[in-house]
Assembly symmetry: C2
Homo-oligomer: 114 residues x 2
């Protein structure tokens, strides 16, 4: 059994407000949202950090960009706009060590981004 919270959501062992799922990714609303729209997108493969992405993940990462745009469409934030954020390791603010993407929108995003 994995102790990773995102692996548990993927396995439906713990609940998540899932807004999208395909063979490679699952997306759910952040439980501590920082914007009216705040979705977490995770690969089903347990990849700890962005640093761990290799040549073999290129197809998956390419597909990710289409998943993000699909979610922006579902959440109706494509035209007003959105921010995509990935944190890697402690200084980046990564809290869960299963690679994930934050998709945020529904308000004006400020600068700097944290």
């Amino acid at each position: 059994m994995s102790s990773c919270i995102f692996c548990k959501i993927i396995a439906k062992e713990i609940p998540g407000k899932i807004v999208y799922e395909d063979d490679t990714f699952i997306a759910f609303d952040d439980i501590n949202p920082q914007a009216p729209v705040h979705v977490i997108i995770v690969p089903k493969e347990h990849i700890p950090t962005f640093n761990d992405l290799k040549e073999s993940h290129k197809e998956m990462v390419g597909h990710l960009s289409l998943v993000v745009n699909k979610l922006a469409e579902i959440k109706k934030i494509q035209d007003p706009g959105f921010r995509v954020v990935i944190n890697c390791n402690p200084a980046g603010g990564q809290m869960v060590y299963h690679l994930h993407v934050h998709l945020m929108g529904g308000r004006q995003m400020a600068w700097p981004p944290g």
Copy 2:
């Protein structure tokens, strides 16, 4: 002649502090850095926004993840950590309408990300 400032940097018509370049991407230091390391990564193809990424860009986006990690290595921020940010359209904070990625590190990144 393109009026896009990033296209001009790619064409070397205006200077940029270029830190990486390959056939598909160019990366340069942000002229208004928000962290000790703040690099802008742009595809050489003029793609206005993240919304414009299509199936045909999957290979390019996959390669982008490896370019980000290469730059994190060059800038020595892989282990402490870094944040990757992409802004799309006005509410996302996009200022230049040529798709670009912000790679930030060298300090503790805060939450929320803007």
